[in-house]
Assembly symmetry: C2
Homo-oligomer: 229 residues x 2
DNA sequence: CGCGGCGTTGATCTCTGTCAATACTTGTGG
DNA sequence: CCACAAGTATTGACAGAGATCAACGCCGCG
């Protein structure tokens, strides 16, 4: 574990609350694991006895259906944890996780974490906070799927990539468009056409670079009820 | 609080783990609150310092959008808790809650619960388990919205109402169809037409009574990829 | 009896998925 | 260095699903 990685860990409320000794125990002093693009981190149905922290790269969490179809639930990146929720039903992961780019990830041991919580109950609140944050994201996603059109969901996605709230902005799409499309609950074709529709709102696309002329304008569009054009 | 209510509380892992004394402290020995149909329990944005347990009735959790539209996230009923997640981000409720039928509900105090967790860290695991269960439900809902057609979602909903897994079944829709439609992310018209389509699969509808001729047949339909008719 | 809430049905239109063809990019091997 | 293949993105044509708007039927209630 490099100094930089350690710093990243300590930037999260959960690990900072633990303090150095406990952090070392829950990560069992291991180094970050390396995953190639396409590598499986865990499978839906595996016993859930760890959660994960990402130092670098992108990870998709998805459900695989009986008919073979994949449904991307969320895509996580550096500085985020995933699968903390799963551990505590004594059960199994409800989703699969796969690296969609090269990734460096550390595994946090559930058993050690339980012991840590018993010593320091405060930690439970941080875990709960992390789980709650994910709950909120899912609720927001449900809201989107239910009421927003394809181009509106794309607009929302773009706006969430760069954390500014006014003015112009250029962002780089961090992974394949097909993956974004799935995450947004649409086909790649619809994603492509949706992006094209946003041109009239000042969105220029070239390869994986997207330039937004006016963030507030796009925001207004994403929140609007009736979708003219 | 009646004996019966007490029994219901103690039937949940969370409250059973607390033991009688702690339960009494977190509910502050109050009686269940009564809500009329349509009564607001809390509003999105209110400070989140309690969660709730339902003794009787139905409660919808929904987001209200700027444009005035409501998006139903979930509908809870007797024996279930809701809004436990919200308390632990020190923040505010991300959704609103409203009784959709007469309801008896008890409020569980967040502050008291925090103290209880500090005394008995085991409780944190039960809270986390409850939060995880909700996470799973939301993930399942996202999956549904993304890949299932309107009639398939209706079929899933019906199947979840009665917890049998084979043979025939008659269920009563517990609240207005318009509410179910919203919960399933569709319009009331589409819900009506979707139900009609299920007739060919042995689903008879009369008023709020639904008779399913063959559960396994409907299950197969709900899980299927291609939707013929 | 008339009114209002709820649910169904019908006509129409728009959006999005599907299928197919076509660029464009990247990597590979001769 | 080029030819080719494979992966990825865009575009077009088309069909079907679902939303929307409107009318109507049903039922409970004053």
């Amino acid at each position: 574990m490099t100094v930089n990685e350690w710093t990243m860990l300590m930037a999260t409320p959960l690990f900072r609350a633990m303090g150095p000794d406990i952090v070392r125990s829950v990560i069992q002093s291991r180094a970050a694991q390396h995953f190639e693009r396409g590598a499986q981190i865990f499978q839906q149905g595996d016993p859930a006895n760890s959660f994960f922290f990402i130092f670098e790269g992108w990870v998709k969490l998805y459900r695989q259906r009986e008919d073979g179809e994949e449904v991307v639930v969320t895509i996580c990146t550096a500085g985020e944890t995933f699968a903390e929720g799963a551990m505590f039903m004594g059960g199994r992961y409800p989703v699969s996780a796969e690296a969609v780019s090269m990734a460096r990830i550390i595994r946090v041991d559930g058993g050690a974490l339980r012991k840590a919580i018993e010593q320091q109950p405060q930690l439970a609140f941080d875990m709960l906070a992390a789980a709650s944050a994910h709950l909120r994201l899912l609720v927001a996603q449900i809201e989107q799927l239910k009421v927003q059109s394809v181009p509106q969901r794309i607009a929302d996605f773009l706006l969430k990539q760069g954390h500014a709230d006014a003015g112009p902005l250029t962002i780089a799409l961090p992974y394949e468009k097909a993956l974004i499309a799935n995450r947004l609950g649409m086909t790649p074709e619809s994603f492509s056409r949706g992006l094209a529709k946003l041109r009239t709102l000042g969105v220029e696309v070239e390869r994986d670079k997207v330039r937004i002329a006016d963030i507030s304008k796009l925001t207004r569009y994403a929140r609007k009820k009736a979708v003219d054009s």
